[in-house]
């Protein structure tokens, strides 16, 4: 269970990205966060695993106060959260297997990491995860040889091989074409459900969110302005999230 309460963040540049965000993710469902560009979606996600340090507020993962942890404990907590990125963020010059195994870096010492000697269980898990994301036999390809969709599958495998308790997913399909977007989104939600873990998914594509979500959170200018099932996401709700004019321009 993920509990976020009273989260606030102002960047040194003065951008007030989050203005008091509270919500809870219970059970195993994927929760989709929608909102215009600049609404604070990425900041919110990064505050959960403290890649961005929130100014105020509390994040609890299964009762553990993530915001109170010191560096060491924070690293341990991050191992329990898998993150998937819009730009994939693979290490381009490393092989697919090295990229996937980097999801286990929190568990191996520096020397074995340097020599690429991961425990047999980790290697086996990496092979299985690669098969689950449909990349069987790709382990020795270099990440920069892959297509966008394939790269995102490696990104998903890297997150899953952590055996996380939650997935944090930041616009996973924004760099992909529409068809691949749907497959990748189906893959993420499907695998999360298989593993019985919830996911917090940022997305700006409203139809895609509607197609996959049970619950949608609408973020606008750093505040939650909508929280409910897709069926409740009607015209007035969308106007609240995206602003009247922008929404009409899109329609």
């Amino acid at each position: 269970m993920l509990e976020v309460s009273g989260l606030e963040k102002t960047y040194p540049t003065g951008d007030h990205a989050l203005r008091g965000v509270s919500f809870t993710v219970e059970g195993r469902d994927a929760v989709f966060v929608i909102g215009p560009s600049g609404a604070g979606k990425s900041t919110l996600l990064r505050c959960v695993n403290r890649l961005v340090e929130p100014d105020r507020g509390v994040v609890r993962l299964d009762g553990l106060d993530v915001t109170a942890l010191d560096t060491r404990a924070l690293r341990a907590a991050r191992r329990r959260m898998g993150m998937i990125f819009q730009e994939f963020n693979l290490v381009e010059r490393l092989t697919v297997m090295e990229n996937v195994l980097s999801g286990r870096l929190g568990y191996v010492g520096l020397w074995p990491a340097w020599r690429r000697r991961f425990p047999p269980d980790d290697v086996e898990a990496a092979y299985r995860t690669l098969a689950r994301v449909g990349l069987e036999g790709f382990e020795n390809k270099r990440a920069d040889e892959l297509s966008g969709g394939q790269r995102q599958r490696v990104g998903i495998a890297r997150a899953l091989v952590q055996r996380p308790q939650i997935l944090l997913v930041d616009e996973p399909t924004s760099s992909l074409d529409p068809r691949t977007s749907e497959t990748v989104m189906a893959l993420i939600t499907g695998l999360a459900a298989e593993d019985g873990i919830p996911a917090l998914v940022n997305i700006h594509d409203v139809p895609l969110a509607r197609a996959f979500a049970r619950r949608i959170i609408g973020l606008a200018a750093g505040r939650i302005v909508f929280d409910g099932p897709p069926a409740m996401l009607d015209e007035p709700a969308l106007e609240k999230i995206y602003g009247a004019r922008l929404h009409e321009a899109n329609a």
């Binding site: 092989t95 297997m97 090295e98 690429r116 991961f118 047999p120 269980d121 290697v123 086996e124 990496a126 092979y127 382990e139």
Partner: protein, 267 residues
């Protein structure tokens, strides 16, 4: 992928052959380094003593002999003179060489080859060695230093100038030629505007390198503050050496800053 006894698959970043190749390359580098270290002859007792020696030397250099600062003005001016005039002379001489050494402006094969030879010889011999040569010809002093700086800089400047010329856009030159302009006019309107920023930038950059080079020319007798430094070292006047090194540091840093500023202005 063969399963092992426990059923876990094995993954290796490198195949055994690749691993062997990597290890042998690393080993070869280590062995060569060790052999060279052995051949160079490290006298460990000297090395162990080095920090103490450097500490002792620093102790003698500091505080620097500030009173000597007045006597440094003239050698310092000489250093700047040598660097500046050497650079200026090299710019003038390297312009024709650059046009000969650029594939798109060279008048012919022979001129191209000659220009390339001049560039190569000029660049491979250090300023200090050129200074040794010119001291034989014109005697010790600032002139030898200036000629040495110029000689070393010709190759550097001509090479980079030529690269700048080779990168010009043919289209712009063609457009000027198409108006019926003379060769000189084509040069002025079609080529010069394109290469001017590169030429200015490279020249200023070389000037600042030459300031640094000129600080040591005096150590072989070719003028400038290095001459005073040599005297101080021979006379074991370490507090003076300390002051000279501080002044050299300041001048080099200052010229670097000026050069960086001026280059930003021209590009």
């Amino acid at each position: 992928m063969g399963d092992t006894a426990v059923g876990a698959r094995v993954w290796r970043r490198y195949s055994p052959a690749q691993t062997a190749a990597r290890w042998s390359a690393e080993l070869a580098l280590a062995v060569v380094t060790a052999l060279m270290l052995w051949h160079v002859g490290v006298r460990w007792e000297y090395l162990a003593d080095a920090p103490a020696q450097v500490g002792d030397l620093l102790g003698r250099m500091l505080p620097p002999e500030w009173a000597f600062a007045g006597s440094l003005l003239h050698p310092l001016a000489q250093t700047i003179n040598i660097a500046t005039l050497g650079t200026a002379g090299a710019i003038v001489l390297s312009l024709p060489i650059a046009f000969f050494a650029a594939l798109n402006t060279t008048p012919g094969r022979v001129a191209y080859a000659l220009a390339r030879v001049v560039i190569v010889v000029s660049r491979s011999v250090d300023t200090l060695i050129w200074a040794l040569v010119f001291i034989i010809v014109v005697g010790p002093g600032s002139l030898a230093g200036t000629l040495a700086v110029a000689m070393r800089s010709i190759g550097f400047l001509a090479k980079l100038f030529a690269e700048g010329i080779e990168e010009i856009d043919r289209g712009q030159v063609e457009a000027v030629t198409a108006t019926g302009a003379s060769r000189l006019a084509t040069l002025l309107y079609g080529i010069v505007p394109q290469v001017k920023p590169v030429f200015l930038g490279v020249s200023i950059y070389r000037w600042d390198i030459n300031i640094r080079e000129s600080t040591v020319l005096g150590l072989v007798g070719a003028g400038g503050i290095g001459f005073t430094l040599n005297d101080a070292i021979l006379g074991l006047e370490w507090a003076r050496v300390g002051l000279i090194i501080l002044v050299v540091l300041a001048v080099v840093l200052l010229s670097e800053a000026v050069s960086a500023l001026a280059r930003r202005r021209v590009t």
